[in-house]
């Protein structure tokens, strides 16, 4: 292999393919790879200037200012003037399960029938050929936690990396979290809604919701007893599927927003000793110290949201991360916007950085914190020696849309192709109009 120094080019001229179908997953890169002269945002709060990262067989081997780069058989990327970040992690998404949002039933595989489906595994339906995936890579997102949706226990999610031929290649951590969708404890149902419709309020929605939560707890109690048997005569797939919760090899992800719902999530720590994460958590700023005390982490679902109440501070959702940060709660941001499908995760973090978080803390909330919550921090989430080389390079500050232009991305050291359907359509019509 010859020594190869890439002057990182603006994206367009790197295009080598004509259709997304020929954007190939990259084979493993064996040997050394260097990214030099970079401003490195490590993802754990540090910024290293003029730094070189040495990658060997896909792992980060060394990080330093004065690393010597061998003369040959290596790939070197000169990132002078550029910003280097860990690959971004989308903590909660149905990408690969849902291709077309509305009215195309055939493209949807994210929500199963039934209320107690802990045995459902999202990973088996994950489509690595989703057109959405490459658009996310172009914005620096290299990992995602693929979640099943539904009622009550909806199944387990798996973390995937975004450069794979099929789901078995993609899986980075299988079935790492069990998803519980807590029934709403808001004490009135939104009534029919809109002009000219009837008002059908449930009799006592609160009690009905509590009964359903109890149904889940009963299930878990029986599952615990079942799994403690040495010999099982009557196999039960549902019970088997939650085994990992009790030894903490699987985390318990509770989807909820209200204070009361989050307080009930604490039950699952107290009674079952689960490792609990709250997904949603729009009201989490109100009980941050309690969450910290119970070691509950939070995935904030959608920072770019309106305040819950018209009386709330105008910027309440934007400044919620700063409150959690101050209380020491482990939290990550995710982006589930239905119209942009996750591509604006970095800008949700950017907004958090405008409203109380430092830029590095904001970055951490979509890298290392997410990795910790998803149980992959030993391999990903930050630029540290020993971890997989999951790295992106941006023209400038990645949190600010004005400068957030991803020009390189590496997954496990593989220099992945950043082409996507959108870039291709852009090229197609620029050609039509003779635009440069």
């Amino acid at each position: 292999m010859k020594k190869y120094i890439a002057i990182i080019c603006s994206f367009v001229s790197c295009l080598s393919t004509l259709a997304q179908e020929t954007v190939y997953p990259e084979p493993a890169y064996k040997g050394l790879l260097f990214i030099k002269n970079a401003t490195v945002h490590t993802g754990n709060g540090q910024v290293l200037n003029n730094t070189t990262i040495q990658i060997n067989n896909g792992k980060i081997e060394k990080i330093g200012v004065d690393l010597s780069i061998p003369k040959d058989d290596v790939k070197v990327f000169d990132a002078i003037g550029k910003h280097v970040y860990p690959g971004i992690i989308l903590s909660n998404t149905n990408i690969g399960l849902k291709e077309i949002g509305s009215a195309v039933r055939g493209s949807n595989d994210f929500s199963e029938i039934g209320e107690l489906n802990p045995n459902i595994q999202s990973i088996v339906a994950y489509n690595t050929d989703s057109k959405i995936i490459n658009t996310l890579r172009s914005n620096g997102i290299l990992f995602a936690n693929i979640i099943p949706q539904g009622q009550l226990l909806a199944g387990s999610s798996s973390v995937v990396q975004f450069d794979a031929w099929n789901y078995e290649d993609a899986v980075y951590k299988a079935n790492g979290a069990m998803h519980f969708y807590m029934p709403s404890l808001l004490n009135s149902r939104p009534r029919g809604g809109g002009f000219g419709r009837g008002a059908d309020a449930e009799a006592d929605p609160l009690k009905a919701a509590m009964d359903r939560i109890e149904k889940v707890k009963s299930f878990l109690r029986e599952a615990k007893a079942y799994n403690e048997q040495s010999k099982k005569n009557n196999a039960n797939l549902k019970f088997e599927s939650v085994k990992g919760l009790f030894n903490k090899s699987q985390h318990f992800f509770v989807h909820c927003n209200l204070v009361k719902e989050m307080l009930i999530a604490i039950d699952f720590v107290k009674e079952f000793g689960f490792e609990v994460t709250i997904i949603g958590g729009s009201e989490s700023y109100q009980i941050a110290p309690l969450l910290k005390q119970n070691n509950i982490s939070v995935i904030l679902q959608q920072l770019h949201s309106l305040p819950t109440s018209e009386d709330d501070d105008l910027d309440q959702p934007f400044k919620t991360p700063a409150t959690l940060q101050a209380a020491g709660v482990l939290f990550a941001l995710t982006d589930e916007d239905g119209q942009t499908t996750g591509r604006n995760l970095i800008f949700n973090a950017g907004t958090a950085a405008s409203y109380g978080l430092s830029k590095e803390e904001a970055l951490q909330s979509i890298t290392l914190n997410a990795a910790k919550i998803l149980g992959i921090a030993d391999r990903s989430g930050s630029i540290e020696t020993g971890k997989d080389a999951n790295i992106i390079i941006s023209e400038g500050d990645i949190l600010d849309m004005k400068t957030s232009i991803v020009i390189k991305a590496f997954i496990q050291g593989r220099d992945i192709n950043l082409d996507d359907k959108h870039k291709q359509l852009n090229e197609r019509y620029k050609k039509k109009y003779g635009l440069k």
Partner: protein
């Protein structure tokens, strides 16, 4: 013979009633029992009306009518005399907004629903009009059936007469004035057709149209026009319009127009909407209000309407649980505190009004509710007038009822004090000369000391009893021993223990014969006894007058009356921004260290080293100033957005239902937005007329409007209009092929219509609001903004427009605009799009974030819009994404949310850039406005600072403090035993264009 004549005369007089049990034409089963009903009520204080009362007078009635009144009345021998010493006589109340005795239609259908099938025509059989919600043919008197179970509680509350009608539909037919006497309907109907009724709610109609309040308004306006056309045609050609035939609904509509017109609007803004319809067609509606009018009294006064005020004041909520209390909005709590002041506010404003028990859950609460309104400042005389003279006058029956005067109906109340005083009881309610006991026992004064004698087996026992009222008496010995006592006017029950702490006692039951009572009883050992009691003497009365309560304290009324509302509207200022980076959007480009002067709402100078006397100088060093952001596609501040009942609804207007109390106005000011184009939704091919507003937070609906701007209209294409997400669509069109034909057909009809209007019989052509709007489009008086996605539909629509000689002004959404940008440019269309939306449905599979850049580079005028109440706060950042994706210059990117939308909305003469002479709609940013780190620090509209981040920090604290004050007040209410309802979250409707995937949170309800 003579008898027959008399009977005929009665009939001719309109069934003037006698006291006879059944009417003249009916045969009697048994022996006739004809009575004249002559009664004299003597020694009473007679309150004739709100302004005059007669002390110590006599009221004489006969055959249901008042025949004598005053101190000089000669009482005929045939009269039964009732001594009313110490009693008051008032006219019975009139409820002008009742549905007593009228069937309540059961609601089966709903509004428009993206998922369900449509009902496009009326399902009412017969020669009626096209819309099921126009029920002008309903005649209240024909469907009225007296209902004693409903009449009694109303009489007990003091009512003698009501106007009743069927509360169903948008036009509801006629109401009838009836008495609450327990007689055959033939006698109780006092006026058959007394009123004509309207509302915005289609009620039990199952027809899809209208499905929005603006649709209801359009339907009413069109029906006014149709009625005129029908009438004029008959007048001109002597027959009904041949193209219509017999239309009983329109005939009834026209007939009903001469009656008093009553509109159930039920909300301060709806009141104005109703009044404007009336203004357009020369009708002054009497408006049934909702109770929140006190927030906008100047606007109420300007309607010149009489109002019917409900008294269902909100209850305090149980706010013990802070997690539930959190979701009760300040607006809800403020309204709880202030709503009882609503009637007083009308009195203070000098507006004519009536009171109604209509919205009360239980008419038992009526008098106490009036009393509550009086605590909050309503005067006794206005309250009485609002229940007697005012409704009678509005209904043109004051010559028959509404006061105590000779010749009027004998409808009156006998009370033991001033009618609304706290300790006063209504004793009897006489309706049409017949007595209805409300609290009979009160007629006989029983208060006093009685000698009670028990005749037991062991001899006689004497007790002294102080009777305070019909439910309370004490034994007076060396202790005062409480008793259980009840005197219902005839039956007396009394039980007590002999000594205060002892357990031995007596249980007595007997009958009162005036001042002497007697009966039997048992002692606690079960031994029988008999007893008598006789009146001894009066006991000193405790003051019975209503305790003067101090006037309730209330928080400040704010504009709007909710969180972040103003105590006082902010005013125009002369402001000089110094040393800013000024993004002019003009050929000067971006100016460093420049000043901007604002005077009288306009930008008066831009440049360096400006000075101005009397100006507030704002040091803008390090800050950036831009023109205010203009959102070309928004759905905030509207009561409804989609009229989806039909495929063509160009007659509906967002302007008719602007909703100023929308917190999103203030929130978007915090994101630098100053002008928003409020669009109709995308439920149909030809949607409704849009409204441009400026974000003047606190202004009323009319003041929000951007004055002098061209009118626009929303069109839509593709999946939403063909209702792709519905499994059961039955509304044409179901394909894009059909969409094109809907367009062709609509404009073809409009062309014919325009020609017909200009033709020789133009005056007899039916005015069609739907086609009027389309004619405006063809004449370039109204402009289209067209929801669009895929290239085929974009091209097709331009070709239809060209066929009819006009241009599609703007394609909105336009996510495949990049594929046909050259054709759009050639056509002359603008593009208003999203920065990076895609994948949320099939028709956006080819949407790309490079779309704005390509269209811009091809030469199309491009804007970035929100269509989303949340994203509208970050439109500057949305524009900045084209820097990232397409390498657009920062200045061009900023123009996509300022100057470019101004140009496409034809308002670039006044807004969109920073130039002397333009409106001072400005934003001062903390940073480069295209950076995610930039925050709007000050947002000005017309030179008025409507958002100031520093001031906002103070307002937040005020919101918290005010919330806390009201929570404490509700807690006090509960502690003092007041009624409380469960804490209920205050839900808010958020409107969007279509099936929107962006959630707006826990407390929102998606609008249609």
């Amino acid at each position: 013979m003579r008898k027959c004549k008399t009977a005929l005369l009665f009939l001719l007089l309109g069934l003037q009633a006698t006291v006879a049990v059944s009417q003249e034409t009916f045969s009697v089963n048994g022996v006739a029992d004809k009575r004249m009903g002559v009664y004299a009520f003597t020694n009473a204080t007679i309150v004739k009306d709100a302004s005059s009362s007669l002390p110590n007078s006599t009221l004489l009635i006969k055959e249901g009518k008042i025949i004598g009144l005053g101190t000089q009345v000669i009482i005929p021998a045939e009269a039964t005399v009732i001594d009313c010493k110490g009693k008051f006589i008032y006219p019975s109340f009139i409820d002008i907004y009742s549905d007593y005795g009228i069937p309540v239609p059961q609601r089966t259908g709903g509004g428009f629903n993206f998922g369900g099938p449509s009902q496009l025509t009326s399902n009412v059989k017969g020669a009626y009009g096209w819309n099921q919600a126009i029920r002008t043919d309903v005649n209240g008197s024909a469907i009225f059936a007296a209902d004693e179970s409903k009449a009694k509680p109303l009489r007990d509350a003091g009512f003698g007469v009501v106007l009743t009608h069927q509360k169903d539909g948008i036009a509801r037919g006629t109401g009838t004035v009836v008495s609450l006497a327990e007689k055959a309907e033939n006698f109780t109907i006092l006026k058959e057709k007394a009123s004509s009724h309207y509302s915005f709610s289609k009620g039990a109609s199952t027809q899809s149209y209208p499905s929005s309040i603006m649709g209801s308004i359009a339907l009413l306006r069109q029906t006014f026009l149709d009625g005129l056309w029908y009438k004029n045609t008959v007048a001109a050609v002597g027959n009904k319009p041949a193209s219509e035939g017999t239309n009983l609904s329109l005939q009834a509509w026209n007939n009903n127009l001469s009656l008093p017109q009553i509109f159930e609007a039920n909300d301060k803004w709806n009141n104005l909407r109703a009044d404007r319809i009336g203004d357009e067609f020369g009708v002054q509606f009497i408006i049934k209000a909702g109770g929140n009018e006190y927030q906008r009294m100047a606007e109420m006064l300007a309607t010149k309407a009489s109002f019917i005020l409900p008294l269902n004041f909100p209850q305090a909520m149980d706010v013990e649980d802070p997690n539930e209390t959190r979701f009760i909005s300040l607006a809800t709590m403020k309204n709880w505190e202030m709503a009882p002041s609503n009637p007083a506010a009308f009195e203070k404003a000098g507006i004519n009004f009536c009171l109604t028990a209509a919205d009360l859950k239980d008419s038992k609460q009526f008098v106490s509710s009036v009393r509550k309104a009086m605590e909050y400042g309503l005067s006794e005389s206005k309250a009485l007038e609002a229940l007697t003279k005012n409704p009678a006058t509005l209904l043109n029956v004051y010559n028959e009822t509404g006061s105590i005067e000779v010749g009027k109906w004998a409808n009156f109340l006998i009370t033991n004090g001033p009618v609304f005083a706290e300790k006063t009881t209504i004793l009897q309610n006489w309706v049409q000369g017949e007595k209805y006991a409300v609290k009979e026992d009160g007629m006989q004064e029983i208060k006093g000391n009685y000698a009670l004698i028990l005749h037991t087996d062991n001899g006689i026992k004497n007790f002294s009893v102080d009777v305070k009222n019909s439910g309370s008496a004490d034994i007076i010995s060396k202790d005062t021993i409480p008793t259980k006592f009840n005197h219902d006017g005839k039956i007396v029950k009394l039980s007590f223990n002999e000594t205060k702490r002892g357990k031995k006692g007596f249980r007595l039951s007997g009958v009162s014969n005036g001042n002497n009572w007697s009966g039997t009883g048992t002692d606690s050992s079960g031994n029988a006894l008999w007893w008598t009691a006789g009146f001894n003497n009066d006991i000193a009365a405790k003051a019975d007058s209503t305790r003067k309560k101090s006037a309730p304290t209330m928080g400040k009324l704010t504009y709007p009356n909710m969180s972040f509302g103003w105590d006082e509207m902010p005013k125009q200022e002369t402001i000089l921004f110094k040393n800013a980076t000024v993004w002019t959007n003009e050929k000067e480009g971006v100016l460093d260290n420049a000043d901007v002067l604002v005077t009288n709402g306009k930008i008066t100078a831009v440049g360096k080293n400006l000075t101005a006397a009397n100006a507030r100088v704002i040091d803008a060093t390090g800050k950036h100033i831009t023109a205010g952001i203009i959102d070309e596609h928004s759905h905030i501040a509207a009561a409804s957005i989609n009229e989806g009942g039909q495929s063509v609804t160009s007659e509906v207007r967002i302007a008719d239902n602007i909703a100023p109390d929308d917190i999103d106005i203030y929130r978007q000011l915090s994101g630098g937005v100053t002008t928003s184009h409020i669009l109709h939704g995308s439920a149909n091919t030809i949607g409704g007329q849009t409204q441009l507003i400026k974000l003047r937070w606190g202004a009323n609906d009319d003041e929000l409007k951007f004055k002098g701007a061209d009118g626009f209209i929303k069109f839509a294409l593709g999946e939403n209009v063909k209702r792709t997400s519905s499994q059961t669509n039955n509304r044409f069109p179901d394909t894009r092929m059909g969409v094109e034909q809907v367009q062709m057909d609509a404009f073809t009809r409009a062309k014919d219509y325009e020609n017909a209007l200009k033709g020789p019989n133009g005056k007899l052509v039916r005015r069609d609001l739907e086609l009027d709007a389309l004619v405006e489009i063809m004449n370039k008086k109204r402009f289209i903004t067209c929801h669009s996605y895929v290239q085929s539909e974009i091209i097709e629509t331009m070709r239809v427009a060209e066929h009819f000689g006009f241009t599609i002004n703007t394609f909105t959404h336009i996510l495949e605009g990049y594929k046909v940008a050259d054709k759009m440019k050639a056509h002359g269309a603008n593009a208003s799009t999203f920065s990076d939306w895609w994948a949320y449905k099939l028709e956006v599979q080819d949407a790309i974030p490079y779309n704005p850049g390509i269209m811009h580079n091809v030469g199309v005028n491009v804007a970035i819009n929100s269509d989303d109440a949340e994203m509208a706060r970050r439109l500057n950042q949305e524009a900045a994404k084209s820097i990232k994706y397409s390498g657009m210059s920062e200045e061009d990117a900023l123009k996509m949310v300022t100057l470019n939308p101004a140009t496409m909305l034809h308002i670039d003469k006044s807004v969109g850039s920073i130039k002397a002479g333009k409106d001072a709609d400005l934003v001062m940013w903390s940073d480069n406005p295209l950076s995610i780190y930039a925050k709007a620090e000050k947002t000005l509209v017309d030179g008025i600072v409507y958002f100031d981040r520093e001031k906002d920090a103070i307002i937040r604290k005020q919101v918290t403090a005010e919330r806390n004050r009201l929570v404490q007040k509700m807690l006090d209410e509960k502690k003092s035993g007041g009624p409380v309802s469960p804490a209920t979250p205050s839900l808010r409707q958020v409107n969007a264009c279509e099936d929107h995937a962006h959630s707006h949170g826990l407390l929102t309800v998606e609008g249609d």
